[in-house]
């Protein structure tokens, strides 16, 4: 009896272990493929801008103009610069591209107020007019902000979004997917921002 019981126990235990291993493998496979998929999607989104530009002559790609806000050397204001980006499929995609261009920098000798390593993780535009911008941690880490540069960084993003995309009325920031108090100890990131065009050169 005892031996039988032990044997039974042994079988069910090894069955359990086997099931667990299969499950673990399945989970790993799912994670692996999801991870890759995510990467691919992101890389795809990032690659769209430059690719579209080179192919523009061959295949006509629908484009739209956006106005970006950069800083100049000789004053403390934000300066407008127009850029052409691929259009659609929706405004959130265009907003992501516009911000990527803002980070990439000026083509007219101005400077971007955002750290060059920053990636745009996502822009989400809600029906109530609030755009949520999720930036990679590089926007806040290993970058020493003063009040002036922090204000410029925040309002370059806010102004770019509200100025170019009609549904956007206010902008909320996330850093690496999470709420953050400030970028560098100054500007309150926990509230939604209205644009501030008083910082823009006329």
């Amino acid at each position: 009896m005892a031996a039988k019981k032990r044997k039974k126990g042994g079988i069910s235990r090894s069955a359990l272990v086997l099931t667990f291993l299969i499950l673990a493998l399945a989970v790993l496979v799912i994670i692996f493929f999801n991870g890759q998929g995510g990467e691919k999607v992101k890389r795809g989104a990032e690659a769209v801008a430059p690719k579209a530009r080179t192919e523009a002559k061959a295949k006509p790609v629908e484009t739209r103009a956006v106005t970006l806000f950069f800083v100049a050397d000789d004053d403390d204001l934000l300066h407008k610069e127009t850029r052409t980006i691929p259009a659609g499929p929706n405004e959130a995609d265009e907003a992501e591209r516009a911000l990527a261009e803002l980070i990439r920098g000026s083509e007219e000798g101005l400077s971007s107020p955002l750290p060059a390593r920053t990636r745009v993780r996502q822009v989400f535009i809600a029906k109530d007019g609030v755009a949520t911008v999720d930036l990679s941690r590089d926007v806040a880490e290993n970058f020493a902000y003063g009040s002036t540069s922090e204000l410029a960084a925040v309002y370059a993003v806010v102004n770019t979004l509200v100025y170019n995309f009609k549904p956007v009325k206010k902008v909320v920031f996330l850093v690496e997917g999470a709420e953050r108090e400030t970028l560098g100890g100054h500007v309150d990131l926990t509230r939604a921002f209205f644009p501030d065009y008083s910082l823009v050169a006329r």
Binding site: V71, A72, D73, D74, D76, S111, P113, A144, Y145, G146, S147, T148, S149, L151, A152, E179, E181, T182, G184, G185, H186, V187, D188, L189, T190, R191, A192, F193, F194, D196
Partner: protein, 275 residues
Amino acid sequence: MNAFGRGFDSRRLHHHPTMRFFRIVRPAAAALAAVLLFAAAPPARAQEPALRTVVIDPGHGGLESGAKGRFGNLEKDITLAVSLKLKALIEKGMDFEVVLTRDRDVDVSIENRSAIANNHKASLFISVHANGAVQKKAAGSETFFLSLNATDEETRRLAYLENNSSDLQSRIDPSTDDDLMMILWDMAQNAYIKESSRLAELVQGELDAMLGTRNRGIKQAPFKVLTGVACPAVLVETAFISNPDEEQKLASDDFQNKVAEAVYRGLARYLRKGE
């Protein structure tokens, strides 16, 4: 240490379902709270605290260095040096207790900075900073107070508090519901915008007279450290550490003394006019 005497985490509260509810009914709730608080407040506040307190906030600290200069000077070190000098001047020349939000190189969360001011029933709050810009040429001194532009419309609707409140602190009953208190603290500074603007103007005038830097004037910005402070509050950007010339000035004892003296004089003028 915080304004509520227990865990204060605005992020947690923002996600809290009641918080979402309060966002919707915020204007109504706060109006109701104001009425209740008026009713609860004693008719006359005869006793003024004998000793008044100024809270000086040396910007940044610890792991958080703030802006950096080309010669390696850090904003956090300059703000502390200036704040210590300002503290000495006030204690010597005025009938004020001075509390620093930090007196050495340590991290202090922004929420704790305003909580320190509120817990000490501060009469004035002065945050000391050194500026930084992408442009190396950017230079000068400026004084900030909180902008209402960046706060939600609901808080603007509550601007009537400005007319009715000389002391928000005394009107917040400790037994008030936590969420409600959070909302009231959240907009604490709104009641003091006029006074903060006057303080900024006077401090900036003295900075301009004493420092020989470019006068960038007084400005409004949504600075986190100012939002929760329940008294007139300003943030002084002494000069640009990102500008090599001004960085060297900021690092010098002489210039730091001048900054402290200028803020002290602005403070003195503010108090003279206010009394």
